[in-house]
């Protein structure tokens, strides 16, 4: 069974929010939209976004990590948001594992949002129906788009390619490989939701300079006579041995 998902590489995400606005832009003009904004030019502007990038600080100065953390619906394999929905508006597609909301059925009871531990669902304040990341279902299967473009808008936008997309059940896929090889993990594993989206942790590259790396025969200072050879006039074994 296919399970499409995003794998987000925290090792390269710089927190640029490209995935945030490109998601809004794509989805607001299409099937999922419009995604409304409230008070867009007034106090406390807010709006519906399917994807947010948050920032966390880990550790204390000077050992601080700044972690940019993009979060959208994780398309859980066992999504608690689905069975609670009284109308059937929330559903998980058998074919590709995408969790969707049918806006035509949704009554805006918000129960599914309560049942999502990740805060991945947002009620559209104008349309009054529940919305969330669709995994760009209207792009990825659209045969009229060139092959290259059949990816989620956020994935195509991401300048650091921190967002990988594919079928995590296909062991040969880029995403499954990344999860396997780079320690991909799921959020809040304690609830057994089995999020399809995974995150790749920070990895640290270090470089070790050894003492002998600094003492090389070809030190250029020698050329200029600044690493003098031992003086010939000084005592040596040569002077005192005769065998």
């Amino acid at each position: 069974m296919t399970q499409l998902a995003l794998v987000i590489d925290l090792n390269v995400c710089v927190g640029c929010h490209a995935c945030v606005t490109s998601c809004k832009e794509w989805n607001t003009q299409g099937a999922a939209g419009p995604l409304s904004d409230l008070n867009p030019y007034g106090a406390d502007p807010s709006g519906t976004f399917f994807n947010r990038v948050q920032t966390f600080e880990v550790g204390e100065f000077p050992n601080t990590q700044t972690v940019h953390f993009p979060k959208s619906c994780l398309h859980c394999e066992d999504p608690p948001c689905v069975p609670v929905c009284p109308t059937g508006a929330s559903y998980k597609r058998a074919g590709d594992g995408i969790v969707l909301v049918d806006y035509d059925k949704c009554i805006g009871c918000k129960y599914c949002a309560w049942a999502c531990p990740y805060g991945a669902r947002e009620l559209d304040e104008k349309q009054k129906v529940m919305k969330k990341c669709t995994l760009c279902v209207d792009r990825i299967h659209d045969a009229s788009l060139p092959e290259r473009d059949r990816k989620p808008a956020c994935v195509l936008a991401c300048p650091t390619s921190a967002r990988l997309f594919g079928d995590i059940h296909d062991p040969a896929s880029e995403v499954a490989t990344a999860i396997r090889e780079h320690g991909g993990y799921a959020l809040m594993p304690e609830w057994g939701t089995h999020p399809a989206n995974h995150y790749l942790p920070r990895r640290k590259t270090e470089f070790k300079v050894r003492e002998e790396d600094l003492q090389r025969y070809d030190n250029p200072l020698k050329v200029d006579g600044l690493l003098p050879k031992p003086a010939t006039g000084e005592p040596a074994l040569d002077d005192v041995t005769s065998w």
Binding site: H17, D142, P159, T160, V209, D213, L214
Partner: protein, 949 residues
């Protein structure tokens, strides 16, 4: 399900490509239109710069296009209304043109310097510069002076190129990447693409920055540094590299002036100048080789690059005529001897052991992980090389180094360190982008006397240039500046980008003189691009109280061309509504700042994808129209008739000189578009660009792609296509004779121009031919006991300066800003996370929200740049978060240094010292309103904006 399936069928969109301008990076975009309306913008995968990606701003272009804050009609300040109140009446374009025509004609016929044109975040300096020059005014510059001129000048005066559009780190092949003082930078998307690839390839990334955000967040090592002290860090690294012999001797000997012999004779008028073969004339570029090496093999002085010779880099020699000389490298080594890691630890706050370790890492990676590309090339001396070598240590730096008054020397230190490691235009190191490398310094010069400014006559030279000696300064007989911003004067001799931050203050003071008309294009000078904002706003609105000009504004007429109702437009007498980037033609030209790649020149265009909104007109068209009406030679035929129908026509047909074959665009030249780089105008050039994703990419053969400073093949090609006038190699200036010329003049040792008495010491101190560290000027003038904290700003990745608060999506990400403070520093003042606090410098204060952060060095506080807004601007409601909770740090930054009596600028380049300010913080009283301060009067919506309609 049903609702998602419908979609693709409905989607009969039209896709047009053009070039983004939500920032100066200029990525290729695809604009998807439905019924003529912009519906979706994504990155163009066929564009070399962004390769299909887009950023947060770029993807929010729709909300800019349809922003309620857009100006749509030309506006005139209502008679009797105060400046700053924003009380306007709409006028027709014809009225606006004739008003300008009349006014400018008068100025041009009497004293052209009374007209000043200054431009902000645009990338069309080739056209605006041409306009100013044709007008005959010296008073022209873009924003570079307050932006990052230290970065440009410090590197170009050292290696003949710089970062951003000019060059960058080759992260494709680098193994170690050291980034200093960069938050976001101009090369926005490409840098992100490159850094992530670099990390994925296992490269090691070190970030030197007082703050850990953005890129620094994903660095393998964060090196928190005290602001303004990078010079000390870099000099200490150099100290260690030289002490350990980790420099690339071969590279330096041949490609830098490290082996060149310097006269070391305090008594000589040529003290500190390079020794020369007898009788060789002294030229700007010192080429052909007249300078000397002390050859290791023959043990005597020989002209540099003599066949078979190899210079000593160290030593103390005497020429035949008895002149004592030393190799420049010896002088550099002597200079950095004092800059030990232990010394630097005290200055920078970085442990000496860390500095040493980093120096070793750089040196060892450069030396031991060499790259050999099987690319044969020939150097300028005819030596053939079978391979191109790379020392894979790459650097990048930006305003963290540049925006300090000691930035020029810091940046020069960086360029020299990069050279010591042998990483200039080599794989894995720094790589140039066409038209760089350029001569050191580049050939362009300004006129050098007030006589050059003549009524009714174009300026005989450029308004901005690259001085190589005091003779190139733009000053009068007494050494007084000719330019309003005092650019190219003894105060800021190498102010190669001008000093836009001085313009309003100087014009208001009448020092050096008054202006009549100030035209501002795309700069928010009443707000975020000005220091001392409160005062500057007062100056803009100040009138003469006596004399014949009584009652007149001190700056009599202000024209602002903007696309939005900004804080600045309120102060205009005439507002010209510009189009957006989706509505106009534009060029990213090789005459300007193109978007070149390492492998060759790239230029690009913007083509309109939607018609102009309301009565908006591109500023380009305004310039062509005015230039024609004012009868500028470049815009009119011999009979006075207009030469160019409009801007697209101008771009196609304009040639730098009649028949030169060089124009704004390098692609598809020649009658039928068959030529590249040079060729006759091609009437179908725009279409050909449009058909090629709006850009032209010329790929150099691999043998011309590296070592371009000294690559004969490249130089000959560059000369042929007129990127360069001369084919001379560009030797790295470890030691700067250019600076020494100024110093000698200040010492009174050099014939010709000398600085006025009060500036002699200044010039003598700061025009040191070798890099050195000094405490930033403002810090020298600060009682650090009282104001202990450095206050800086950073670019948020999802906002472009002030101009995105009108963008409904982007402002949700940054609706207001806080001051980030290390908890240690905050608690010392009894401040808790989330408190309202006062931030005070010796110049002013602001009240703002405090937020704790462990990602900032304890001696530094910071905030996001330009998020705070004045009420009413940008079509925001009066209670918008930007003006109630947000704040502008600029209120505590001074434009002047009173003790020194100069502007708050680098004494070499005039770069604004934004990041030198020191502050103290304290808790705001419980009784105070929970709002930011200062507060400003609200401004009414301008006629023509959607809020007003």
């Amino acid at each position: 399900m049903a609702c998602f399936a419908k979609r693709s069928a409905e989607l009969s969109t039209e896709v047009k490509t053009t070039t983004c301008y939500m920032c100066a990076c200029r990525c290729g975009i695809r604009v998807h239109l439905r019924d003529g309306e912009v519906r979706y913008i994504d990155g163009n995968p066929d564009h070399p710069l962004n390769q299909g990606v887009i950023c947060a701003k770029g993807a929010s272009g729709i909300m800019k296009q349809y922003s309620p804050a857009r100006l749509t009609r030309p506006l005139k300040r209502r008679a009797g209304a105060e400046r700053g109140a924003g009380d306007f009446e709409p006028i027709s374009w014809e009225d606006a043109y004739s008003l300008l025509e009349e006014r400018l004609k008068k100025i041009r016929a009497s004293d052209p310097k009374k007209f000043a044109l200054f431009t902000g975040r645009d990338q069309m300096q080739a056209l605006t510069g041409l306009f100013a020059r044709q007008f005959g005014t010296p008073n022209y510059a873009a924003h570079g002076g307050f932006c990052s001129v230290n970065m440009a000048a410090g590197m170009i005066y050292t290696i003949g190129g710089s970062f951003w559009e000019f060059g960058g780190p080759d992260l494709e092949r680098a193994k170690l990447f050291v980034m200093l003082g960069t938050a976001e930078d101009h090369h926005s998307n490409p840098l992100k693409i490159a850094i992530s690839k670099f990390k994925r390839n296992g490269g090691r990334f070190v970030s030197v920055n007082p703050v850990r955000t953005g890129y620094s967040a994903i660095a393998d090592e964060w090196v928190p540094i005290r602001p303004g002290t990078d010079g000390a860090f870099l000099l200490a690294v150099m100290h260690e590299i030289i002490a350990q012999g980790l420099y690339d001797r071969e590279f330096l000997a041949r490609y830098s002036n490290g082996g060149h012999l310097v006269v070391c004779d305090a008594a000589s008028p040529r003290d500190g100048m390079f020794a020369r073969t007898a009788g060789a004339p002294e030229t700007d570029t010192d080429w052909p080789p007249a300078q000397l090496w002390w050859d290791r093999h023959s043990g005597r002085a020989v002209p540099t690059h003599s066949e078979g010779a190899d210079p000593f880099l160290f030593g103390d020699f005497k020429l035949e005529d008895g002149t004592p000389v030393r190799p420049a490298f010896q002088l550099l080594a002597e200079r950095v001897k004092q800059y030990t890691p232990e010394w630097a630890q005290e200055v920078t706050g970085i442990a000496a052991a860390t500095i040493r370790r980093l120096a070793h890492e750089m040196g060892v990676v450069a030396r031991d992980q060499k790259i050999e590309l099987p690319i044969a090339w020939t150097d300028c001396w005819g030596v053939e090389h079978q391979t191109v070598t790379g020392n894979p240590v790459a650097f990048h730096a930006m305003r963290g180094l540049a925006a300090h008054s000691n930035g020029f020397h810091t940046v020069r230190s960086l360029a020299i360190l990069m050279s010591l490691l042998g990483t200039i235009d080599r794989p894995g190191g720094f790589r140039h982008r066409a038209p760089f490398p350029r001569a050191i310094p580049p050939a362009a010069k300004t006129p050098n006397s007030p006589a050059a400014v003549k009524p009714g006559t174009p300026l005989p030279g450029l308004a901005l240039g690259w001085p190589a000696a005091p003779e190139h300064l733009f000053v009068d007989g007494e050494g007084k500046p000719v330019r309003i911003d005092k650019g190219f004067s003894w105060e800021y001799p190498l102010s190669v980008h001008g000093l836009m931050h001085n313009v309003i203050t100087n014009a208001w003071r009448g020092d050096p003189y008054r202006l009549d008309t100030l035209m501002i294009f795309m700069a928010n000078m009443a707000w975020n691009s000005t220091m001392n904002t409160v005062e500057v706003r007062r100056m803009l609105n100040d009138r003469d109280t006596e004399g014949e000009m009584r009652g007149e504004y001190k700056i009599p007429f202000i024209v602002v061309c903007d696309a939005f109702q900004s804080e600045m437009t309120a102060f205009a007498d005439l507002v010209l509504p510009d189009t957006t980037y989706l509505e106009r033609h534009d060029v990213m030209s090789l005459l300007d700042r193109p978007i070149s790649e390492f492998d060759g020149p790239v230029d690009a265009v913007r083509v309109p994808v939607v018609p102009p909104t309301g009565e908006c007109k591109p500023f380009q068209e305004v310039l062509i129209e005015l230039g024609s009406r004012l009868g500028f030679p470049a815009f009119t035929n011999a009979d006075g008739s207009r030469k160019y129908r409009d801007y697209p026509d101008f771009i196609v047909n304009y040639e730098t000189e009649p028949g030169s074959g060089i124009g704004f665009l390098a692609g598809w030249r020649g009658r039928g578009g068959e030529k590249q780089m040079r060729g006759e105008p091609n009437p179908r050039q725009w279409e050909m660009y449009a058909a090629n994703n709006c850009h032209f990419h010329y790929r150099l053969p691999p043998s011309y792609q590296y070592m371009r400073n000294w690559n004969r093949g490249y130089m000959e090609w560059a000369q042929r296509v007129r990127i360069r006038r001369y084919g001379d190699p560009v030797i790295i200036h470890l030691y700067s004779e250019v600076l020494q010329r100024f110093r000698l003049a200040a010492q009174g040792k050099r014939p010709g121009r000398q600085p006025p008495a009060q500036l002699r010491r200044r010039v003598q101190t700061y025009f040191d031919p070798l890099p050195f560290y000094f405490v930033p000027l403002e810090v020298q003038e600060t009682e650090l006991g009282k104001y202990p904290l450095a206050a800086i700003t950073q670019r948020p990745m999802a906002m472009y300066h002030s101009w995105d608060s009108q963008n409904a999506w982007l402002r949700q990400i940054h609706a207001h800003n806080c001051l980030f403070v290390n908890p240690v520093a905050a608690r010392a003042q009894g401040i808790a996370d989330g408190d309202w606090i006062w931030v005070e410098s010796q110049w002013g204060k602001v009240r703002c929200l405090c937020r704790f952060s462990e990602a900032v060095e304890p001696g530094t506080v910071w905030t996001w740049n330009a998020i705070g807004k004045a009420p009413g601007a940008w079509s925001l409601a009066p209670d918008a978060n930007e003006s109630r909770l947000g704040f502008l740090l600029n209120h505590v930054i001074s434009d002047a240094l009173p003790v020194l009596g100069s502007s708050n600028s680098d004494p070499v380049t005039g770069q604004a010292g934004w990041y030198d300010v020191r502050v103290r913080i304290s808790r705001a009283a419980e009784s105070e309103p929970k709002r930011s301060w200062p507060e400003f009067e609200g401004v009414a919506a301008a006629p023509g904006t959607r809020t007003a309609a």
